[in-house]
Structure formats: C-alpha cells, structure tokens
C-alpha cells in the first residue's frame, strides 16, 4: 500500500510499528469519556524519547501539522482530542524516571511517568517520600496533571499540582529547547522556580498550546509514618463546608474531601441514585492525617474531635468520625479510598462509559451558595448531585466539582450533559469560580469573562512561543484566525 501523507512525513520520526494510521486506532483516539465532540487525528505517533519528540516537532512545524500531546487521555475535558486533525503524540512510552533526589526531595520525570509508576518506585527504593496524588486512575500522567494545574491529596498543604513543578524542559515549535526554574542556570537538581523570572507559568494551564514538555522536575514530600484516614458523615452541606473551613486552617491535616451522598450509593452499584433519604448524611467528608509519632497524631485527632464537638454544640448535625479501617471491614467497597492512587471504577467502569464534570477552583467562602445552585441545576437535568469538594492551600480556596456519569451511546444524554455543563459553567463563573482543564465549549464561556488585556497578552505569548500554531490548536481562543 502507498503510504499516505502523514506516513510519509513522519516515517523517519519513529519506527514503523509506532506510527499508526489504522481506522480503529484513529477512532479510539478521536474521543474520550466526555461529551466533547469527537475529532479524528490523521496519525498517532507513539513517542518514546526526547529525540523522537524533537523530530516530530520539527516535521510538524515544517509542514504545519497540529500536534496533540496525550498520555492516558483522562483529563475529562476533551483536551487530547484533535480540534483540527493532525498528529497525536502518545507519550505513554516516554516514561523514564530520570532521577529521584532524596535529599532535595525532587523527582525528574518524563511525560509518560504515571502516579502508579512513581509511587511503586518510591516504595521499591524504600524512600519515605510521596507526591500529591489525584483521584484519577493509577495509569494517569503526573506531568499532565501538573501541567493542567490539577490537584492531589496534598493540595490542602501545598496547593495545586502546578505549584509542585520546580523546572521544565520544553520543546518549542520554533525548534528551540528551553528550561525553566533553577535548571535554566545550572545543572544541579532543579530545586526551585525562584528566584528567576518564573517562565514555568507559560506552560501551566495552557493545555499544551505553548510547547511540548519533555522533562519535568517536581517536588516530592516526606511521607510520614503514622497515618489515619477518617470519614465524618455530615447531614448537610453547610455543616460540611463549615467543617472543611475550620479544619483547613489548623495546618494539621493532609487532605479533607467532601463527597456527596450519591458517591456511597454508586459504590454499592446504584448507577443513578436520584433521591436521598432525607435523614441520611449529605456528605461523606474524609480527613487525612499524618504525623511523625503517635503523640503528634493524637494531638491532631484531638484537634479534629474538638472542632467537631464545637460544631455540634452550635447545632450542627454530624456523626463522630469513623475510621476508614472500620468502614472497610463492614463495607469492603470503601477499600477504594484506602490507598492512592486508586481506580474509582464506579465512575469509570459503568455500562454507558461516560464521565464528565465541571471542575472549578474558587473561594471557600462561596462554596455553600455555588453548591446549592449546582445541585439545583443537576437535579433539573436528572443527574445525581455528585459533588466533590476539597479545600486547598490551607483553605484559601478549594476545588468544587460537579460530576456526571452517563451513557455515551445515548445522544439525548450526551446533549443533556452538554446543556447541564453549560449551565453549571455560567453559574460557577457568576459565583466567582474558575473552571479548570476547560473543554473547548467551556473555554468559549470563560473567555468573555477574561480581562481583555489578559487575553490579548495570552495571544501574543502564543504567537511568540508557537508561531506556526501547531501546538494543540483550538484551545483558549488563541489561534490567530480565531475571532477575539
């Protein structure tokens, strides 16, 4: 068979078996679990090292072929679906852990390194270190999570995962390779972004539109020996958010996460739990503690107990904390929350296969109102009010997510998710929340809210960093042919 244009162009970039143009593969890469419009790539290149990445960028720039980086494709925003065709760079095999510096607590990794992989490696080397771990499945990429400014189970203490980055090595479509952070000056472990002009931000939350990151240095944190995870059942969301706000500012807890009532039922196999028993708790709030000693742990537990007692004496309705180990003995389903990374199969492995969300960061002072409005919107579209909220960075702000599971094969449901998410987005923006990992549709809703000078500067930066407009085009309204 004569090779097609893309096979000819990229034929020298990777060995033949890692350049794929068969229909089944292209179709698999043209969608994700969300309601995002499918978009067919012209070719999928399975990249395994920096030299191949460089060659791919060079060819793509010369022939103006869009490049879409992808690892597990679980970003829940359609971000690795091509908007204008082109080449998907599958980076799953570009996955070496280059260095783990125990003393400076920094790991240097390639794009395909997954949470499961790094956690296993730290365990294998018996290093008492860890990284912030999201609720996404173990096979998802650390780099993608950091570049998308996601959050993990230590974001209450240390902020978004973008903040954990201490240095990047980036290939620009101009053919230039740049370094950010301490790396830009010396070859020592890239210990920090300070005190140079902070260029790392040019690649965080830009959805792969400014450059292809080939190496990332990221902080690791001490993993303390004494750990507990407790669940507090709270009977309404006011109590939940009040508890979160109070606990967050103690600077004592690793993570606090409120999962709304449908979560528990879905873990018991109820796919569409639409109605809550009015007497049952509205939220399961998990609280993670870790300490260097039993004594330190017990001080933290005492603080938690005191705060709960104070809340109760103010009339709040909540149960005493349940130890996760106890819950798991009675309800093994909760084992899913025992160790991270975990696979929340009740979200990902259901017959319809669809999973989407409107995920936002916003001020904790406004959680109650935004949750009220979001629940009302979800109910109108007949989606269970599945909400995940977590305070971040000591309680300055938090994540508030509205999640839908649905059938991807049912056009009506897909349309309902689209409309529901559009309404949720309008609402969160009005309430002062900012959607993250924004799909194309959501970005279109966000841009009119962006300060005009900010968006103009973003576009100018895009022109400088990616003059050929090949890096994941169609995002953030950045392409020059797009209307301002």
């Amino acid at each position: 068979m004569t090779p097609n244009r893309y096979e000819r162009l990229f034929g020298d970039v990777v060995p033949e078996q890692r350049l794929v143009t068969d229909e089944a593969t292209l179709s698999r890469f043209s969608r994700d679990t969300t309601e995002a419009e499918p978009g067919r790539p012209d070719v999928v290149l399975f990249i395994e090292n920096a030299a191949e990445a460089e060659a791919a960028v060079r060819v793509a720039a010369e022939h103006r072929v869009p490049l879409i980086p992808r690892i597990a494709g679980t970003n829940l925003g359609g971000l690795s679906i091509p908007v204008r065709g082109g080449a998907i760079l599958d980076l799953t095999g570009f996955n070496r852990i280059i260095d783990i510096n125990e003393i400076d607590m920094i790991a240097v990794i390639e794009p395909g390194v997954t949470f499961g992989q790094l956690v296993a490696e730290l365990k294998r080397r018996q290093l008492p270190l860890t990284i912030g771990i999201p609720l996404s499945p173990p096979h998802t990429s650390i780099m993608a999570n950091c570049l998308l400014d996601g959050l993990g189970n230590l974001s209450l203490l240390y902020g978004t995962m973008g903040e954990w980055i201490t240095g990047l090595e980036v290939l620009l479509s101009t053919g230039q390779t740049i370094r950010t952070g301490a790396w830009a000056v010396s070859d020592v472990p890239p210990f920090a972004r300070a005190p140079l002009p902070d260029l790392t931000g040019l690649f965080v939350s830009w959805q792969g539109t400014t450059g292809l990151v080939t190496k990332m240095a990221v902080e690791l944190k001490p993993k303390l020996a004494f750990r507990r995870r407790l669940f507090v059942l709270t009977y309404n969301r006011r109590t939940t958010y009040d508890l979160m706000r109070r606990l967050a500012r103690q600077r004592m807890f690793d993570d606090i996460g409120g999962l709304s009532w449908p979560t528990g039922k879905m873990m018991y196999g109820i796919e569409r739990p639409l109605e809550r028993d009015p007497d049952e708790p509205e939220f399961f709030t998990y609280i993670d503690l870790s300490a260097n000693s039993e004594a330190e742990l017990s001080i933290k537990l005492d603080t938690m107990t005191r705060i709960i007692a104070e809340q109760r004496s103010n009339g709040a309705e909540l149960e005493d904390p349940l130890d996760l180990d106890t819950i798991v003995k009675v309800a093994p389903q909760f084992e899913k929350f025992a160790e991270f990374p975990t696979d929340l199969e009740f979200l990902t492995q259901h017959p319809g296969g669809g999973l989407s969300w409107v995920g936002t960061y916003g001020p904790m002072s406004r959680f109650d109102r935004a949750a009220d409005l979001g629940i009302e919107i979800m109910a109108r579209y007949r989606f269970p009010p599945l909400i995940v909220s977590r305070p971040m960075k000591g309680g300055h702000f938090g994540v508030l997510r509205f999640i839908e599971t649905f059938s991807r094969d049912d056009d009506k449901e897909v349309e309902a998710v689209r409309r529901c998410n559009a309404e949720l987005t309008t609402m969160v923006l009005e309430q002062g929340f900012i959607p993250y990992k924004t799909p194309v549709r959501t970005t279109a809703q966000v841009i009119p809210h962006l300060w005009p000078g900010t968006h103009q500067l973003m576009r100018r930066l895009k022109e400088v960093l990616d003059p050929y407009q090949i890096m994941n085009p169609g995002r953030w309204g950045l392409d020059t042919e797009e209307e301002l």
């Binding site: 039922k265 904390p321 003995k329 309800a331």
Partner: protein
C-alpha cells in the same frame, strides 16, 4: 428458596447508605447454612436507627426485606451512632455497647439476639 430472593430491598435506588451497608452484610451471611436455618425461624420486624438514618428489617421465615425508615409493628428497636452499630457488626458484644450507653434497645431483646448473626460481618474463617 432462590438465593436471589432471600433479601429484598424496597426501592434500592432510594435506600439510605445504612440500608445498603446492612444489606451487603446480610447478603453475605445468607450464603451461610447456619444463618439460613436461623432466618427460617424468624418472623417479625426490627427497626435500626444509626444517627438520623433508620431502616426496618422484616423477616417472614424465608426472607428478609429492608425498607427505608421505621414502619409500624416493630418487635424490637436498636438505636445508636453509626460508629457503635458498626462496632456491633464487627463483633462487639451487645451488652458491652448497651452498658457503655453507646447503643439503646427497646422491645423484645430475645428477638434482637436472634437476628444478630445476620448483621455481623462474617469472619473470613467462619464456615459457610
């Protein structure tokens, strides 16, 4: 009786988390011969309240039916925090939790004792 019909949940999609937790324990117990024999002798209803959640367990000599909330005609009632009820499920003695005031009972205590094996988490080594 068909094992699938030994446990019924009225409107499972509306059942509280307490009911779902208990139902999963009961279901695994109903696989055990000794417990099945016991169920065949049980007739009547028990109300269980944990925190603010309540459910009714109704026995009719062959099956168990779980309903959300408390219904009329209960032979016995158990009331406590979710934590203390989970401790009972994990084997803590009824008397122990009663005297520590973590759980209260009313109605026929014998009937409660009879249903106890049904809501206890079976140890991995227990015979089927």
């Amino acid at each position: 009786m068909d094992p699938a019909n030994r446990l019924k949940i009225v409107e499972p999609e509306r059942m509280s988390i307490l009911g779902l937790m208990l139902s999963s324990i009961i279901r695994s117990n109903l696989d055990r011969e000794t417990v099945l024999k016991r169920v065949a002798r049980l007739d009547g209803k028990v109300g269980v309240t944990a925190g603010k959640m309540s459910i009714t367990m109704a026995f009719d000599r062959s099956s168990v039916t779980l309903t959300r909330g408390l219904t009329s005609g209960l032979r016995a009632r158990v009331n406590g925090s979710l934590d203390s009820l989970l401790q009972v499920s994990l084997g803590k003695s009824l008397l122990n939790v009663y005297f520590s005031k973590a759980v209260s009972f009313s109605g026929n205590p014998l009937f409660l004792i009879k249903i106890l094996p049904l809501i206890r988490v079976p140890a991995a080594t227990e015979p089927r």
